[in-house]
Symmetry: C2
Subunit: 181 residues, 2 copies
């Protein structure tokens, strides 16, 4: 068994795009899924070993080679399908920014304004990045069957950022106009 079905899903899914080394897999997860997923080495290596033992991935190059490429087997693809079909399990929310703002009376209004301005600026910067990535992706339309699905996740990031900017702006306006210190 892999460490968790969520990690297993990300690993099998990554290999369903194309075979690669554990190292490349981690980079791909960081660079491509980065805005909605993350895995660390400490998860990826044990998971790959477990998946190999279960016959869900095939290791080419062997453990002694300087680099081994993992590829999905038919049973691995079936396993991925099963995992993807499982109900979505939401992580319980933990938003450090909102926690600090909620206790804003203790933190002080000025600090809250700083936090909000910061959040807005980061959301704006992030939005620019996503829009650039979307433009790049749009240029390669049709190159891969994964294209429409990759686009979905980028759009999610874009909508989130826009909402973040709008929220921070609205809050800044009301808080700045507030006479109470």
């Amino acid at each position: 068994m892999a460490r968790s079905s969520q990690t297993e899903m990300a690993v099998l899914g990554g290999l369903s795009i194309e075979p690669m080394t554990a190292y490349a897999l981690r980079e791909a997860i960081r660079d491509v899924l980065g805005h909605f997923w993350s895995e660390s080495f400490g998860q990826i290596y044990p998971t790959l070993n477990a998946l190999e033992e279960a016959g869900h991935v095939r290791r080419e190059g062997g453990p002694r080679a300087r680099s081994s490429v993992y590829a999905l087997t038919p049973s691995g693809l079936a396993r991925l399908r099963d995992l993807l079909a499982e109900p979505v399990q939401e992580a319980q929310p933990r938003n450090g920014l909102l926690l600090r703002l909620f206790f804003g009376r203790v933190l002080g209004r000025d600090r809250c304004l700083e936090l909000l301005r910061d959040a807005r600026d980061r959301a704006r910067a992030q939005l620019g990045e996503y829009e650039g990535m979307l433009a790049q992706l749009t240029a390669t339309e049709g190159h891969t069957p994964d294209w429409p699905y990759m686009r979905l996740t980028l759009l999610a990031g874009i909508h989130q950022c826009r909402a973040g900017v709008a929220w921070a702006d609205e809050c800044l306006t009301t808080l700045e106009g507030d006479p109470t210190p």
Copy 2:
């Protein structure tokens, strides 16, 4: 030392609103901070004990009483201020819905459409709840100095939900119109 500064922050913050029992604290965190924070009993009790030992909270009623109320001490308030001023540490993102959609080619278009419709409906329902809560909160304007800060976090939820609905709608339109199976 408490288990983690994040849990400590939530616990001290809760008691900064008003003194209460561990049980009530957990309920308050679930009901009031629920849309952006969560803590379980297994975290709250040990944290309260550690905080009492450190002198940051005072326990009234003692461990033998059927119910003991915890109150913030001056040093606890100072500790809370320090914690709130610490830089926000973002949890690494883990969005199970987006992970599934990203591998949508394997999952199948129909399943993806289901997921999106479901996400949209849940976002809509959630939005209604938040708007109700905001109306309720607006009615008690000025009753507590925490008011403007509570409002911020509710607004965040509302903006998030609206973005979620708009995103799902946009994705549904493009995916449904897509001829590729």
